[in-house]
């Protein structure tokens, strides 16, 4: 057993000595978290939380936050609709890494555009982030509903190569918000949006739109406490 232990130790040591020159930066679990996110074992929210922790640890230890980390975290905040917080992190990346400045200037501009009310309604990301309040137009249009014919994946973009963002069960009623080719963009009861293949849905017969709307339209619930 000692031989095995020795060899394993030697393997570990030589792999460290052979190539690595020690790590310059304190990465935390950035690479494995990104992998877990891409393999759907953690959510985008969890990825953001872990990035936040990695950044805080570096800052607390007085270490340089590795290139790109502020910006990655800022982008997740941006996607979650937290534009003001996102700007802070794009700014930090900008200040620390001069190479990032042209891109960070763009990202900060994007955030500012999103927070100005005129531009808000154009963004699909705002809907994805569940901030329907910024999109008054969507409430005045009578929503169209689809019935799911068999269990289906809802994808990020109109292709089967894209990430699955949610799934729908047979018989679910979902709101249709757009269409493109063989795909429909839909919004689920959870507020999530994504694309579903047209072959898996049919138009809902709108005999009692209210019944459908109550189940799948999160705004109606969100509004109640305000009244």
């Amino acid at each position: 057993m000692d031989i095995v232990r020795g060899l394993i130790l030697l393997a570990v040591l030589s792999s460290m000595a052979a190539c690595a020159t020690g790590t310059k930066y304190q990465w935390g679990t950035y690479n494995t978290d990104l992998y877990k996110y891409y393999s759907h074992s953690i959510t985008q929210e969890e990825l953001a939380r872990r990035l936040q922790i990695a950044i805080q640890r570096c800052e607390a230890d007085g270490k340089i936050v590795p290139p790109g980390l502020y910006a990655e975290y800022g982008y997740l905040l941006y996607e979650a609709g937290q534009y003001e917080e996102a700007v802070q992190f794009f700014q930090k990346e900008n200040d620390k890494w001069p190479e990032s400045r042209p891109l960070m200037a763009k990202m900060i501009r994007n955030c500012k555009t999103k927070t100005s009310p005129d531009q808000g309604s154009k963004s699909s990301k705002i809907e994805a982030a569940g901030q329907e309040g910024l999109n008054p137009a969507s409430k005045t249009v009578l929503p169209a509903y689809l019935v799911v014919l068999k269990s289906a994946n809802i994808r990020e973009k109109a292709t089967t190569n894209c990430r699955i963002v949610a799934s729908a069960k047979k018989g679910d009623q979902i709101q249709k918000i757009d269409e493109s080719g063989a795909w429909c963009k839909v919004k689920l009861a959870s507020g999530k949006t994504g694309w579903i293949s047209k072959g898996l849905v049919k138009e809902a017969v709108q005999t009692s739109p209210e019944a459908g709307a109550k189940d799948v339209h999160p705004e109606s619930k969100d509004k109640e406490p305000q009244r």
Binding site: V4, A11, Y38, Y75, E99
Partner: protein, 218 residues
């Protein structure tokens, strides 16, 4: 036990081989470009494994940043390109390098293609293979300033313990584990190390590295 010894030995050999130098490249173009930042664009997939490009993407930032370069945030870049209608990696790779550089303000672009990302299962041995080709292009000249190909193969060592049935069962178990979830990531990480690190064929230290312009390339 014999299996463990074999496996450990194999690890030692792989680890040592990691830094073997294999001939020298011409670094004139690289030195002329003197990149400070690297934009890693979405990875082209020449395999049937649809998850490979995203998985691989998570492995590239750290070794390049540790080499002393500013590496653009890979997830931000990927998502921004998707929002601009460039969700297809082949499309990104065939787009003009200068245009990509302009979008992000980078000095150079790393293009990676995945050539192999597969596991072949057999009763007695399973082979997991990761094959990658890398190219860095300079933004100003749009020329390739560095390129490398790496193929990493992992075969659990099927040593004989004399107990035929025991070996057979052990191998079947190993194959089954690999089949459930072949672990490509260590191979991808090793391929990156072999591509970027070795003196003479790797990537010269960048401006945030202590050996910038002192590691024999300049």
């Amino acid at each position: 036990m014999r299996k463990l010894v074999g496996l450990s030995l194999a690890l030692v050999v792989v680890a040592l081989a990691g830094c073997a130098t294999t001939g020298h490249k011409n670094y004139e173009a690289f030195k002329a470009a003197d990149p400070h930042s690297i934009l890693i664009v979405p990875v082209v997939n020449r395999t049937t494994n649809v998850d490979a490009p995203d998985y691989f993407l998570s492995t590239v930032t750290i070794p390049l940043a540790e080499k002393g370069y500013y590496v653009f945030p890979v997830n931000l870049v990927k998502r921004s390109l998707e929002d601009d209608g460039l969700s297809d990696a082949d499309m990104v790779h065939s787009a003009s390098t200068a245009k990509l550089c302009g979008l992000f303000g980078s000095d150079s672009v790393l293009y990676v293609s995945i050539e192999r990302w597969d596991a072949r299962w057999a009763l007695l041995s399973t082979t997991v293979t990761v094959g990658l080709s890398y190219a860095i292009k300079d933004c100003k000249t749009e020329q390739v300033i560095w390129e490398q190909k790496e193929t990493m193969v992992y075969t659990p060592q099927g040593s004989n313990s004399g107990n035929v049935l025991g070996d057979l069962i052990a191998d079947v178990v190993t194959a089954a584990i690999a089949k459930a979830a072949p672990n490509y990531m260590p191979l991808a990480i090793q391929a990156n190390a072999r591509a970027f690190q070795p003196a003479g064929t790797g990537i010269p230290a960048g401006p945030y590295h202590g050996l910038y312009k002192k590691d024999g390339y300049y």
